[in-house]
Symmetry: C2
Subunit: 114 residues, 2 copies
């Protein structure tokens, strides 16, 4: 499994509409990628490592897919539409990364049998 992480740097002057991001942008991605997207997670940056340090990223999302090929096939045809939506919630250019999922959820085995 792979994880596509989209991370929005917390630049000075960064604008970010967290409500739009949660309620519109991620559902748009889910709608367009359909079964090619297993699930996603959304984070809102609070602080750095200490309460008085600012968060490096104002927001992040992580898209979980079976493989890089699955991601590309599902996202690629809609990339232009999805990227055009970004200006509706932020003026920040995201940092993007594709990772191999080494541990998806360390408690998953327990969660299945609570």
């Amino acid at each position: 499994m792979i994880k596509v992480s989209i991370m929005y740097p917390n630049n000075a002057g960064a604008r970010f509409d967290h409500d739009y991001y949660r309620d519109q942008h991620l559902p748009l991605i889910k709608s367009r990628m359909s079964a090619g997207l297993k699930y996603y997670t959304v984070d809102k940056g609070l602080t750095g490592a200490t309460p008085d340090a600012s968060a490096p990223f104002v927001a992040m999302c992580h898209l979980l897919c079976d493989s890089v090929e699955t991601y590309q096939a599902a996202f690629g045809p809609h990339a232009q539409e999805i990227r055009a939506d970004i200006s509706k919630f932020t003026n920040v250019t995201p940092v993007r990364q594709i990772s191999e999922v080494v541990v998806e959820n360390s408690a998953a085995a327990l969660a299945k049998f609570p």
Copy 2:
């Protein structure tokens, strides 16, 4: 719920032992934080947004906790021991962030009733 993200920049000359990270370091964190850590995820950086771009981070982990207070109470007493372990798998100083979990898992409701 909050997410503590520890992200290791993919600097030139970065050394990173992914096996030690998965098999020793994260289990150490889990052992020390005990019930204060709900679960964790581990990522190994593959590429940037395109296959020919390098990953911004060589590795990441995300620690899920009920609250910042829970995290601090569980991690704080062991911070020195856990940080001393970092040099065993990398020469990179991580970027750290605490986020509010806006969406933990977009498919969680479905996952409970497969």
